[in-house]
């Protein structure tokens, strides 16, 4: 026993040079892979940029300002899709922000016992895990019919308002915005809840001790203190909504005409790409790549801002 231990020790000493090289090559391997992961972002940017070059050369800036997408004429511009992308995401934010923050409040304050809260947190996470194509399918057959009376009412009573100026035909901006809001709500809730829960508990007791009610504490002390986290989460959610494809594609109606009414069919950059790619070739395919590059640039900016805000919060 003791001799073998001694043996193995001398073995170890003999092996130490191989072991050293094994050790350093292991560290190098992890280092290379780690930089590779970071480099993927750059790689995507370069690759997507290269694929877009033919269309950029053809259309330049007018690609973003023109509004006709016309394959027979080989004329491509995506202003309606940029509009649709932004408006559907804003509708989604408008709905998801108040609901998401309310969920974060209920799930971070002591309204409910810990065990019940844990289950609810799990359910909200599950909401984020449902595949977007399933939401899309559900949107076509459940949400769109459900919204019909609401859409018709909006048009009949508020039709003078440009946003409701067309008949509700089913697929369109409104159902797309609602589906997107369901999908981004868990992001807002998760990050807002994190930043509310990470506030020091003395802040709460300090506020209660000067005679605040629970809701005065929430609105006047906790939400202002957690504000940047909530904003960061909302930006992240916006980035997700801008780039979301399948759910939007199935319910937005894929109309390439610019229409201000949220009841009318519209299109987003992502759903344009998903829809036309399989039949496209030549300049049309290049134009889809250009559209992809623009979407990538928009979401990149939004995500970088979101991450910067969230990173700052973590320091505090």
């Amino acid at each position: 026993m003791s001799s073998s231990a001694v043996n193995s020790q001398t073995d170890n000493k003999n092996r130490s040079s191989t072991e050293k090289s094994l050790d350093s090559s292991f560290i190098w391997l992890t280092r290379i892979l780690s930089f590779l992961v970071a480099a993927v972002l750059l790689w995507i940017a370069i690759r997507v940029g290269l694929q877009a070059i033919p269309a950029i050369q053809e259309f330049g800036w007018s690609f973003m300002t023109g509004s006709s997408w016309n394959p027979p004429e080989q004329q491509y511009a995506i202003l309606p899709m940029i509009y649709g992308t932004i408006v559907s995401s804003l509708i989604a934010l408008l709905i998801a922000f108040p609901i998401g923050v309310a969920c974060a409040i209920v799930l971070s304050e002591n309204f409910l016992p810990q065990s019940v809260r844990r289950i609810l947190v799990f359910l909200v996470e599950l909401l984020a895990a449902i595949p977007s194509v399933v939401y899309g399918l559900w949107g076509i057959y459940v949400l769109i019919p459900f919204l019909k009376p609401i859409g018709s009412w909006l048009h009949q009573n508020l039709g003078w308002f440009p946003l409701f100026s067309t008949q509700y035909v089913g697929p369109g901006m409104l159902p797309a915005g609602i589906i997107l809001s369901i999908m981004i709500l868990p992001i807002i809730t998760a990050i807002s809840r994190d930043s509310l829960a990470s506030l020091p508990p003395e802040l709460r007791s300090g506020s209660y001790a000067v005679g605040s009610t629970r809701w005065q504490t929430i609105f006047s002390i906790l939400i202002p203190a957690a504000f940047s986290g909530i904003v960061g989460g909302t930006m992240l959610a916006l980035g997700r909504a801008l780039g979301e494809t399948m759910a939007a594609t199935l319910v937005i109606g894929n109309s390439n005409a610019l229409n201000f009414s949220v009841l009318a069919p519209a299109n987003t950059i992502a759903s344009l790409m998903a829809n036309q790619f399989s039949e496209a070739s030549g300049l049309q395919r290049d134009s889809l790549m250009y559209a992809g590059l623009i979407l990538f640039a928009i979401t990149l900016v939004v995500n970088i801002i979101a991450e910067l805000i969230i990173q700052k919060v973590k320091k505090y």
Binding site: E202, R204, S205, G206, Y208, V210, G211, Q216, A225
Partner: protein, 274 residues
């Protein structure tokens, strides 16, 4: 200014000492475990009462009963009565928020709100329906907390930018701005340096004129310096191995320190004080 009537009543009660807070058989449970057991204690008006004892003896727990801050802790339950001016704070029909507006609190770690110095004072006053000149109240409260001269030129700055000692005095100003009857202090000097500590102790002496103060402290010297009355709590091993606290002895401060009746008081005070 106190009215004639109030003055009369004060002078009368000073002979038999008016009691503003009374704990009657208070037992505090965390989940199923009674962490503090059977406390009877009367707190006299306009005096400083210190709660001392080893850690885990329940002195902070008792303090938090006096303004129902224990309500915030999951699984915490209080039995017995806490009488504040003839009202039992733990009876069903009492509004805990109102209680906290009359019984202020200063915490172990300074916890100013992440707002301006001015807003730190004004926030509590505003939600309590204060309608007079806010600037006056802010100045008066900061003066009472002996911090006015240090901050008068930077009222718009964030309260968190102050030093620890200043933050704690800001928190005291925040508490007195509500004109509470009682100010509870939970080891207010434990995170402060000696200079700030002596400033806060001086402040406690002054505040006594207007307020009743109940202070939890680890520091024997501090208790003997600031307190009129002192209560000694001790902890014992409970049936499940958890430690529970109870009140051992409660008397005038000089009696507790010079002539304690109980052995455990004597050894605790002696060990820490001699």
């Amino acid at each position: 200014m106190p009215t004639q009537e109030q003055q009369n009543s004060r002078s009368q009660t000073s002979q038999k000492e008016e009691m503003i807070l009374k704990a009657e058989d208070v037992t505090v449970y965390y989940d199923d475990f009674a962490a503090l057991r059977g406390v009877y204690m009367d707190i006299p008006r306009n005096q400083v009462t210190a709660l001392i004892g080893p850690s885990g003896c329940g002195k902070s727990t008792l303090l938090r009963c006096f303004n129902r801050l224990n309500d915030l802790i999951d699984g915490c339950r209080v039995e017995g009565k806490v009488i504040y001016r003839d009202k039992n704070l733990y009876s069903d029909n009492i509004d805990a928020v109102e209680v906290r507006r009359r019984i202020g609190m200063v915490f172990q770690k300074p916890n100013p709100f992440p707002k301006s110095i001015y807003e730190n004072i004004a926030y509590g006053a505003r939600i309590n329906g204060y309608k007079d000149n806010m600037d006056d109240l802010v100045e008066k409260s900061l003066r009472q907390a002996a911090i006015w001269d240090e901050v008068k030129d930077k009222l718009k700055q964030n309260g968190l930018s102050l030093s620890g000692g200043q933050q704690q005095r800001l928190c005291i100003a925040r508490a007195v701005a509500l004109k509470p009857d009682v100010v509870l202090m939970d080891e207010p000097c434990s995170s402060l340096d000696p200079v700030s500590t002596s400033k806060v102790e001086d402040l406690i002496h002054e505040l006594k004129e207007e307020y009743t103060i109940v202070i939890v402290t680890h520091n024997m010297q501090q208790a003997s310096r600031v307190a009129d009355m002192t209560a000694f709590f001790n902890a014992e091993e409970g049936e499940s191995g958890n430690r529970f606290g109870y009140l051992v002895e409660y008397d005038r401060t000089e009696d507790i320190f010079e002539n304690p009746q109980e052995e455990s008081t004597k050894s605790y005070v002696g060990g820490h004080f001699g």
